[in-house]
Symmetry: C2
Subunit: 257 residues, 2 copies
């Protein structure tokens, strides 16, 4: 990075239903592509913002983080405002701050929190349908919680990784710090925090916990599913629309300029 | 209607952003078309449901009403359930009831209520953007309310009708029973109830009241704008996405079987 540039960290919320995921793809609308285009229109600079990680098509973010260097000397308040004027309404910049020059949205991340929302009412309002998985059949939620607690800690999550993912099992070791189901009104929410997540991992965990809730898998089997390192042993992938990237945590010293 | 058919009234909620409005159009997704197709799939009958009125592309409904005759002897609870299984998640049937054979969703309607939602916060969350008009500049809301009260009663609303609408001024007489602005958290909401509405009428009233709020039109001018019968005197058409058809009222005797 040339000496005269400043590293920026932006906090983003977006409706993933309108995008082919985070990562730029030729001839597809993506969140990263929209952000790059908005930065180019505002500053004339051609930078590719680095996200804390990819989100798939249809997955939403309450607090995705992206970083990029800019040469233009933009005041902090102005950059967020200018981006929000330029970006589509389905992507909002919650904040834009200058950070340490070695900050990197992905490499510097310490942990991430995801939330998966299941709508449990009989009639899901049309304005909620894109942001929840509507599932109203009976579920043993206590069993789902027992299953969820078993994935806390350091494990090899190959059984819960997309089959198109890294086939190297030692690389699939991740540590989960929290994994819980809570009921909030009509929503049944799974919240998980960990030091990293494999492709489809949260959706595969949710799909498996739903099988536990339906009594097709016993909560006590979760450990043996983990140990089997076999995607075939776990449940199906839950739909993208219920998943939100809630927040990404960084060391305090890197997020101050 | 053959003697053996039953007249049905369905109450619908929908997200208008995904449709080219209510009314069927060739090669376009419309709410009426989706409902007709769902009824055909369920009953094998080819009926075109009659709506209480058209809603434009992007306009939503909390309580649109449609009526249609069916020969199939479907139990009430089953029809709503079958429709909700068949329709896309952006259209929900809140209820389906058998009604008097001379019930007609449009002809029998006594009054309708619409709501227009303006988001007044600095950052409109992406999941609300399709359901509000985000407008955060200063507005004189007391003046907007003074303007809104002036359209209550029987008036010729030609000044507030789409220029593509009925050019016959006597046909543009309507009676409004209520017309009010209220603030509810981050939302500034205009609610209007009347015996009928011309094409674009609510959106043109809102666009005009916003000009009053911006101090480009004085609240006292509303009467002379009405009397001028000139679309050019009123304000612009507010965006479709903030508008909801809230409810349609009918004589009690027609909505009982």
């Amino acid at each position: 990075m040339p000496a005269e540039t400043t590293m920026w960290k932006v906090l983003l919320a977006y409706d993933g239903s309108e995008y082919y995921g985070w990562q730029v793809q030729p001839d597809r609308q993506t969140v990263q592509g929209e952000l790059r285009d908005a930065l180019a229109r505002i500053t004339g600079e051609d930078v590719l913002p680095q996200g804390s990680g990819r989100t798939d098509a249809g997955v939403h973010a309450l607090g995705q983080v992206a970083s990029f260097p800019l040469a233009a000397p933009v005041p902090e308040a102005n950059l967020a405002r200018a981006l929000n004027r330029t970006l589509p309404a389905s992507i909002r910049v919650l904040s834009a701050t200058r950070v340490a020059s070695d900050f990197h949205a992905r490499h510097s991340a310490q942990s991430k929190t995801y939330e998966y929302r299941i709508f449990r009412g009989e009639l899901c309002p049309p304005w909620q349908a894109r942001y929840v998985y509507a599932y109203n059949a009976p579920l043993d939620i206590a069993a789902m919680q027992r299953a969820a607690t078993q994935v806390v800690g350091e494990h090899n999550f190959t059984s819960f990784a997309a089959s198109d993912g890294d086939p190297d099992p030692p690389g699939n070791q991740r540590c989960l710090y929290a994994s819980d189901w809570t009921q909030e009104g009509n929503l049944l929410i799974y919240r998980v925090r960990g030091n990293g997540f494999l492709h489809h991992m949260v959706r595969n965990l949710v799909g498996t916990f739903l099988e536990v809730g339906r009594e097709n898998i016993d909560a006590s089997e979760i450990r043996s599913i983990l140990e089997s390192r076999s995607r075939a042993r776990a449940g199906p992938t839950a739909p993208a629309r219920g998943l939100f990237l809630v927040s990404v945590e960084y060391p305090a010293e890197l997020t101050k300029k």
